[in-house]
Symmetry: C2
Subunit: 396 residues, 2 copies
């Protein structure tokens, strides 16, 4: 039975690819330090569960397709506090940021059309773009240059007749880079001048270190027609399992197009919307505590990586990921070595090999992504294991 | 800003199109009997809410992409009781039957490829097919022939190089028809002979009247490679707001393709999966009571429709919908009349005009879909209003 060409172009998650070897190593009694998945260990605010246990309906009905008014209002208020005004019609609740991304791609891409994405990128972007029939046109960036991409020289040569959008993650996953206000402005200018959508995935908005402040693209009111914002409660409130996100845009035609899909899928799960609305009532101190904890982890991660001879990395400024170029021939081979041969005191470590974060063939083979979502003590040990393993791998 | 051609070909829900006029009529104090939306009034089994209020996690994490093992096992056991064996790898939990449908279309359709669908059909099928770049190729059926479609003469002439699948709903929404075992076998034969996917949407499986029994396509083991089953807890347990469905197939390549999308969207909401697993523990008596109640409603609905001079309809045998051809020039104009001019004792009625259920231009203009999801007394009154309104509309 023939499957679609577009799905054949998609890949299984590179982050989950080593799972069978993880299971085997665990069977051998090896303790594994997981630096591969962006699943925070920060506690979900209990208001989520409180709101849901108080909620009963005789009939668990469909909710309105764009989301329940309480949640839309909660999101609107959250943005209002950031100094950004949205009408309720600009906000559509989605099943995670994931659904918002897929909806956006289905609304703007026909077969063979392109989205410009700085690489390394969040690998699931590729699946959403390709399953909508589109292609990724990567802005290639380098570890030696801190993975920076926001310049006319890097972006404009990639624009052609088939280009429909630029997709950026800010703060960046997997690089941890943050655009300066000038860089973000430039990306908006380029999108505007070339009539492209600017899709800004800002789900890590609260995770900015060293006192930095994020400029949200939503504050540029001259790109209302171009901007599509991807949002989510997953990381903001450590509520990944709620699967509540949002597609946000002031472009009315785009929102009407997305409504066609939203109506077809009827509604987002009722209870999760109730819980998510409650999450938006947490005190700002929640974000501060989380940010401080991640900054400590970032510091450990960066310090320990710098101590490993031959590693190229840049201090991440936001999100909770970092890329690092390792002094190994292949990060995938090295990962297999970690899972099949290496151990120190019965422990080993896994990360995400870099190749899956690139669209350019051959790029990222000696890079890895680390998610620093574990406590400081575990990170210290995990990165110590990484150092030892690199040495042993290269002396084989 | 240019949107995708594929989204331009999609439409807003024809079922929700008259909503602004409904609101206006309500503002004028008119009581509206809703026969337009398939939202059952049957109580959701409280085990759903019980299971969820007992559940707390410190960190609300992502769940496995194919679904939580408890729910997959519950679905497997449910099918086992129907005499159908599935491996756990054949079942993927999805965000409603809706996500299962969209995933299936993305996995099998490239631009311009076709899905054969008997019309009238569930209008959201059109959105899922078109947003995947595909086209609906309708098997045209007629009210005078009870909307039957399962014959070689009707189906085979529609198959061409671009045909990828046949999509059927059994029991049928919007027609209430049920395929005989021989008819279902024939559809399976046709799919097999022509190497097509057979997508069977069996979400109304429990809603069969007059002692009838449904043959599930999953019992034909010679079409394992062709069959994709769409399933959902929405109607089965009156839990539409849970948004829990399933994509089920023994075709391993198809399931791996769907896994690419499932991994990209990470997971289905945790709490709803916990609740849905609990729903599968309800006693079979729950289904019997529900079936009896719907059969009473079906009886009222059919009897009252037959009493209206000039109406063409067929006794529905399953699901909770019926189509009816009215003696009016246009069901849409008539609906506007109902909402803007007609009232009896301060009451009126709405249904879904038939046109949105057809792909053939001009088809269904004098037809309507009725969802008999209201109690017997309300249905009596609503259909009485329909009779009076037709008379008054034609004497204008």
């Amino acid at each position: 039975m023939k499957l679609s060409q577009k799905i054949e172009k998609c890949e299984l998650s590179p982050i989950r690819k080593f799972y069978p070897y993880v299971v085997e190593a665990q069977k051998r009694g090896i303790k594994i330090h997981f630096l591969n998945i962006g699943q925070p260990d920060i506690k979900t605010p209990p208001v989520y569960f409180d709101a849901i246990s108080d909620f009963r309906q005789e009939v668990l009905e469909y909710m309105p397709s764009p989301g329940i008014p309480e949640l839309i209002e909660a999101i609107r208020t959250y943005y209002h506090r950031l100094g950004v005004a949205f009408d309720s019609g600009d906000i559509m609740v989605t099943t995670g940021g994931s659904e918002a991304l897929l909806m956006a791609m289905l609304c703007i891409l026909d077969e063979g059309e392109e989205v410009i994405v700085p690489e390394p990128f969040y690998p699931n972007y590729a699946t959403f773009i390709r399953s909508a029939g589109g292609r990724i046109c990567p802005i290639h960036t380098k570890p030696e240059e801190g993975y920076r991409y926001a310049s006319r020289e890097q972006v404009e040569p990639l624009i052609n007749d088939r280009t429909r959008a630029i997709l950026i993650t800010n703060p960046g996953n997997p690089t941890g880079t943050i655009l300066t206000p000038q860089e973000l402005r430039l990306m908006a200018d380029i999108a505007k001048e070339h009539d492209l959508f600017l899709i800004c995935d800002e789900v890590y908005r609260e995770f900015i270190y060293d006192g930095g402040e994020l400029t949200t693209a939503a504050s540029f009111r001259d790109v209302d027609e171009n901007l599509i914002l991807i949002d989510s409660v997953s990381k903001r409130f450590s509520a990944c399992g709620a699967r509540i996100g949002a597609l946000i845009s002031r472009n009315k035609a785009l929102m009407e197009a997305a409504t066609k899909i939203a109506q077809a899928r009827l509604s987002v799960a009722t209870l999760d919307q109730i819980g998510a609305a409650a999450l938006y009532t947490v005190e700002p101190s929640y974000f501060n505590a989380t940010r401080e904890e991640y900054q400590r982890r970032r510091d450990v991660c960066y310090r320990k990586l710098k101590e490993i001879p031959g590693v190229v990395t840049t201090e991440p400024k936001g999100a909770f990921y970092t890329m690092a170029k390792l002094p190994v021939d292949s990060a995938e081979k090295f990962q297999m070595f970690l899972l099949k041969e290496f151990e120190d005191n019965g422990e080993t470590v896994v990360f995400s090999p870099g190749e899956g974060f690139y669209a350019t063939p051959g790029a990222g083979v000696d890079e890895i992504r680390i998610a620093y979502v574990r406590c400081v003590e575990e990170l210290e040990r995990a990165l110590e294991l990484l150092r030892m393993a690199i040495e042993r791998y290269n002396n084989k």
